[in-house]
């Protein structure tokens, strides 16, 4: 018996040594080399596509942000700020757009809570932007998968032009033009769908003032 036990132990030790070899190759060397090359060749992307103001990062152009008014005393849920283009609803974290807590609502397609929240969002967005509820686009009333979606549809961006222009005291055609300049088409002409990056749009809006 001891000899067969020895064999089993030897066998598992060999397996462990093989695992350690692969840990060094695929778990240490591989990511270190990729990080090294990525940092040298594509530093902007590798570090999160940051947008900087006077040298300080204010956003990643890939990660959505909240554009809300500061909370008043006694308020629990923040109100959207009229002067910013608003992003999609977010289920990431308690206040939305929290990158340390990415994720979706996971509410089912017939969940009464989801039905109620879509109704409420539609009414709120329509009132906020001064448009009929039926014209509010789908991305304005649904939460994204990541909760960090930086994009909205061109339709939702155009819907917000009047409100934003008024809040900044800008003329509407100028703001419409800004939106038009920010529409990203499909990659290679057929991948994905048209979108407007709200983070970049708001950043350029503030810079244009």
């Amino acid at each position: 018996m001891p000899s067969s036990l020895n064999r089993v132990i030897r066998h598992h030790l060999a397996a462990l040594r093989m695992l350690l070899v692969f840990t060094v190759i695929t778990g240490i060397a591989y990511p270190l080399v990729v990080v090294g090359i990525a940092q040298a060749a594509f530093p902007h992307q590798a570090n999160g596509s940051l947008i900087k103001d006077r040298g300080r990062p204010v956003a990643s152009s890939l990660i959505g942000q909240n554009f809300n008014l500061p909370l008043n005393k006694g308020q629990t849920s923040p109100q959207p700020d009229r002067k910013w283009f608003q992003p999609r609803p977010s289920a990431a974290g308690t206040t939305g757009y929290d990158p340390t807590s990415s994720g979706a609502s996971n509410l089912g397609p017939n969940n009464p809570d989801l039905v109620a929240v879509i109704k409420a969002r539609r009414a709120a967005v329509a009132a906020f932007d001064g448009v009929p509820p039926s014209s509010v686009p789908v991305d304005a009333v649904t939460a994204s998968g990541s909760g960090l979606d930086p994009d909205i549809s061109p339709a939702y961006a155009y819907e917000q032009v009047n409100r934003v222009a008024k809040a900044w005291g800008l003329n509407r055609p100028a703001v419409r033009k800004l939106v038009a300049d920010h529409i990203q088409g499909r990659n290679l002409g057929f991948l994905g769908q048209d979108r407007v990056n709200v983070v970049e749009l708001n950043h350029d809006l503030a810079a244009s003032k």
């Binding site: 990511p31 590798a46 994720g103 769908q193």
Partner: protein
């Protein structure tokens, strides 16, 4: 360009890219799985590991190596997760608690990558890259090794030898997975996926709020996560997270990567058995099932079928990203649930009953169209054995496949393979529904809640790893039960596959006669597809009726 045309073009471009990869990748895999020559670096690996690279193992020895490697991997990863707070680059993350560490270790070692944690708040960088991502490589290679042993069972005669596990493992990692991942990791970085060692970076946002941006070596892990059909995301939101999947091009690339090995392996099979037509027949069945599933899920999502929330919102965009839209989300969802990958770029829990139900059905098929790396091909070959056997029964003659007789012994192994996974799924889901505490973990109520539980056990036992993520499964009971489901669902089938390989290898081939069923013609493609649908349909219909079907008809 309108949405429909663009959507079709995405699918067509994907099919085209996969078709172009079929021959070169399949032939290359066949070459490395049969070549007698070792690379010098491989000899170094064998020496460092203390294994004999020139041994040819009988099937029980091959199996013992698989299981020994599994066991040390499980314990190593468990220890890593439990001790991560003492290691470098932990970012201040705490040690992972025991039940979650067991679940996560089982999950990555079995190529499932079910995640009951969210990466950004649980895992430091070192455990992600040197613990979890290592298993992304080796667990994928183990699957390819096992299918290589099965194919050798068909090609060899009167022997008990089915190959060398350590050689298969090493060659697949070093000659395929590592170089391909390396190239695509850099392509993903160029597309915007992050690759750094930053921790959490606090910024003041444009509107003057605070936001914490997360860092990490994401691209290097992303590439192998898709290529090895692992699916475990760096972040909780997986491939819907903009740092993992920033734009529609990276998205298309990720779908391609998670399908490419699975769809090329039938070529490897055809090449190794010396008849490429056998590979075409198998890949035709895979493609047929995949294409039908894409059509069904896309149609359900586009038309918000049986979804009151979707009709009210004006579309099924809950849980989906604006940059991808319905088409690219549905394409990802189908591909990930038919491959045992389990990465997601949208959240299936919020899909229509038909679309979400189809993702469950995809996994129930046993991950065979094209399935996980290696496991997909051995899964469909087992079903091919059953199909040949059924045809043999119809005409009353001893069935044979590729010159090997399918006798009682072979059919016993094939039948046990087919019974294992459904038994784990149905017993597990049944137990969870019978226990009030576990039932309460459902986020949604009614049939949709049952679908969450059914999805969880289907995903675990089939080593998929995606979820109807509303289920709060990070409890001691679910961590343990799903962990066991993953381990049994991975290794019991492997036992039967290797036993079958040994049994086939020991046979003297029989000559082809006029009575032999040709297994490369459209007739066989139809027969195999029919057998797959009937076996799965009969097994799971009652469970599906209680979940997605009940919800869809409501």
């Amino acid at each position: 360009m309108n949405n429909t045309l663009a959507g079709w073009l995405q699918v067509i471009a994907l099919v085209g890219a996969l078709a172009l990869s079929y021959r070169p990748l399949g032939d290359y895999l066949a070459h490395i799985l049969t070549s007698p020559r070792h690379w010098r670096v491989e000899r170094l690996v064998y020496r460092a590991g203390g294994v004999d690279g020139d041994a040819d193992q009988p099937w029980p020895a091959y199996l013992r190596s698989v299981l020994a490697f599994f066991l040390v991997s499980l314990l190593f990863l468990y220890g890593f997760l439990r001790l991560q707070n003492h290691l470098l680059l932990s970012l201040g993350m705490k040690a992972v608690k025991p039940d979650l560490a067991f679940n996560t270790a089982a999950s990555f070692v079995t190529n499932t990558n079910w995640q009951n944690y969210s990466g950004e708040s649980t895992m430091g960088h070192l455990v992600q890259m040197a613990g979890l991502a290592v298993q992304n490589f080796v667990s994928a290679a183990v699957g390819i090794g096992v299918v290589a042993a099965l194919i050798r069972g068909f090609t060899r005669k009167k022997t008990d030898r089915v190959g060398n596990f350590w050689v298969d493992l090493t060659r697949v990692v070093l000659r395929v997975l590592l170089p391909v991942s390396f190239v695509f990791a850099l392509v993903l970085v160029a597309g915007g996926v992050i690759e750094n060692f930053h921790g959490i970076q606090s910024i003041t946002t444009i509107a003057g709020e605070h936001q914490s941006l997360t860092g990490g070596p994401v691209a290097s892990q992303e590439a192998i996560k898709e290529l090895g059909t692992n699916g475990g995301g760096f972040y909780n939101a997986n491939s819907s997270h903009p740092f993992e999947n920033p734009n529609p091009f990276t998205n298309w690339l990720e779908i391609y990567l998670l399908l490419v090995i699975g769809f090329a392996l039938p070529r490897t099979f055809g090449k190794m058995v010396g008849d490429n037509r056998q590979g075409y027949a198998i890949v035709a069945v895979m493609a047929l099932i995949w294409a039908s599933s894409v059509a069904i899920v896309t149609a359900n999502e586009l038309h918000s079928v049986s979804s009151s929330a979707g009709h009210l919102a004006g579309g099924m965009m809950e849980g989906k990203e604006q940059r991808f839209g319905i088409w690219a989300s549905a394409l990802f969802a189908v591909s990930t649930t038919l491959t045992s990958c389990g990465a997601v770029n949208s959240f299936h829990d919020s899909y229509t009953p038909g679309g979400g139900g189809m993702t469950i059905f995809n996994m129930m098929l046993g991950e065979i169209a094209p399935g996980g790396t290696g496991s997909g091909l051995y899964g469909i070959l087992i079903l091919a054995v059953v199909a040949v056997f059924v045809a043999g029964l119809m005409v009353g003659r001893t069935p044979e496949y590729l010159g090997k007789k399918l006798r009682g012994q072979e059919m016993k192994y094939a039948s046990l393979y087919i019974l294992t996974t459904p038994a784990i799924v149905l017993v597990g889901a049944g137990l969870a529904m019978a226990l009030p505490g576990e039932r309460a973990a459902m986020l949604n109520h009614g049939p949709h809640g049952f679908s969450e539980v059914l999805y969880a056990f289907t995903s675990a036992a089939n080593n998929n790893g995606s979820a109807f993520a509303g289920l709060s499964a990070n409890t001691v009971w679910y961590n343990t039960a799903l962990g066991l489901a993953m381990i049994l669902g991975r290794f019991l089938p492997m036992v039967f596959v290797l036993a079958l390989a040994g049994s086939l290898a020991s046979q003297q081939p029989v000559p082809v006669t006029a009575g032999t069923l040709p297994t490369h013609r459209p007739q066989f493609v139809g027969l195999l597809t029919g057998v797959i649908l009937i076996v799965v349909g009969l097994t799971y219909f009652p469970a599906l009726a209680l979940g997605p079907l009940a919800e869809g008809l409501h």
